[in-house]
């Protein structure tokens, strides 16, 4: 069993990422210590600004434009536990270094990030927890 604690660095103390522990192919504990909110998570995934639907499709009848670069999010909660989904959101490249899925909770090892985004993860810890709790509801 692999066990690793990641202590991410950030430029400003207030932006510091919450530390998390990877166990096997999962992050068992909530990044915030609290459960997320599935309704907020759905809104985050459906919002084009957050990029999910550029690549994925899913149960979003109101969204006309959805991507087909990757598996549908339909049924993600049946395929993976919340802990597994959390690692896939935080840093999918740990499982597949060649993946095109961005690491949503990572600020290191990136090249030429534009000013507005520099030093910040794509999603906050709260947003990751909301998304994880929403994805867990996608059971069929």
């Amino acid at each position: 069993m692999s066990l690793a604690t990641v202590q991410p660095l950030a430029t400003h103390a207030e932006d510091a990422l919450h530390p998390y522990q990877v166990v096997g192919d999962a992050i068992p504990a909530s990044l915030t210590g609290k459960p997320g909110d599935p309704a907020r998570g759905r809104a985050i995934v459906a919002n084009r600004q957050n990029t999910c639907l550029l690549c994925h499709s899913g149960p979003f009848p109101e969204e006309r434009h959805q991507g087909n670069l990757s598996p549908s999010l339909q049924g993600a909660g049946a395929r993976w536990t919340a802990a597994e989904l959390r690692l896939r959101m935080v840093d999918a490249s740990r499982l597949n270094p060649a993946t095109i899925m961005p690491s949503y909770y990572q600020v290191e090892g990136l090249t030429r990030v534009a000013g507005a985004w520099r030093g910040k993860p794509i999603l906050s810890a709260e947003q990751i927890e909301d998304v994880v709790s929403y994805l867990s509801t996608l059971r069929d």
Binding site: S2, T51, R64, H65, G67, N68, I100, T111
Partner: protein
């Protein structure tokens, strides 16, 4: 058992990653290369095909006027040195960027035009993306319409083209993606509502419906970098010219379409 399953998945992940690396190292075979034109809807194709409907033609006509207009302290027009563009400019856009010996590096078509303005006409060079520079570039490039893209066989270009290639394969921006991951590995798939083209620079300057104007290849490159949340390079920056050089080599043999229309 949970941990064992995790380890198995990790092993599978590593295997898949190795496979994906092998696949993504492969460039699109020459026989499968196709212009973004192939992905256009019927109406957009018709707009590009008909010079009376193609909005890029306005810029070409403006360029034709500028070609004949005397300017600068030399009071010379492009035509005074180059004569009829239909003959003298045929095929030029198909082999740019080209090596400029006095600068020791490649220059693109816009830069070449600007060098003529500054050095031959003793005129003020035009700003990147200015109406004038786009018009002259579109007019010159249209003289190569239908000609196959033919990068010059010039060894001095090799290190610059290689630098462009490195940039094409480099992951960048907050989304951490390389150009190749969309344009080599996922062309013809949908990125939300947009079909991903192979990214061939066949039709530049293009009229882009989203811009509601004509724009340069570098403007398009900057758009893709912005999409990746990467800091785009300035217009005219060596990195952008190196990328143009690589993209032209990658598109070798495809016909020039200027002025193309794109969504």
């Amino acid at each position: 058992m949970k941990a064992a399953r995790g380890t198995q998945r990790l092993a599978l992940g590593v295997l898949l990653a190795a496979l994906a690396t092998l696949c993504s190292a492969a460039e699109i075979p020459l026989s499968e290369r196709r212009s973004g034109y192939a992905d256009l809807g019927r109406e957009t194709k018709a707009m590009q095909d008909d010079d009376t409907a193609n909005p890029g033609m306005l810029s070409v006509l403006e360029g034709e006027e500028l070609w004949k207009t005397k300017s600068g302290t030399e009071v010379k027009a492009c035509a005074d040195c180059h004569g009829d563009a239909r003959a003298s400019m045929k095929g030029v856009a198909a082999r740019y960027p080209a090596f400029d010996a006095s600068r020791g590096r490649p220059v693109n078509l816009e830069q070449r035009i600007n060098i003529c303005q500054a050095e031959r006409q003793q005129a003020k060079p035009s700003a990147y993306e200015s109406k004038e520079l786009l018009a002259l570039t579109a007019f010159v490039a249209m003289q190569s319409r239908g000609e196959p893209i033919a990068p010059p066989d010039d060894a001095r270009l090799t290190p610059f083209r290689e630098a462009g290639r490195q940039l094409f394969f480099r992951r960048q921006g907050q989304l951490n993606l390389g150009c190749n991951q969309c344009h080599d590995d996922n062309w013809s798939k949908r990125l939300a509502g947009n079909l991903i083209p192979q990214a061939h620079p066949t039709g530049y300057p293009i009229y882009r419906l989203e811009w509601q104007s004509i724009g340069s290849l570098q403007r398009r490159l900057r758009n893709c970098m912005t999409g990746l949340r990467a800091q785009p390079y300035e217009f005219g920056a060596p990195e952008n010219v190196d990328m143009e050089l690589y993209l032209m080599w990658r598109a070798r043999g495809l016909p020039v379409e200027t002025p193309a229309v794109r969504p």
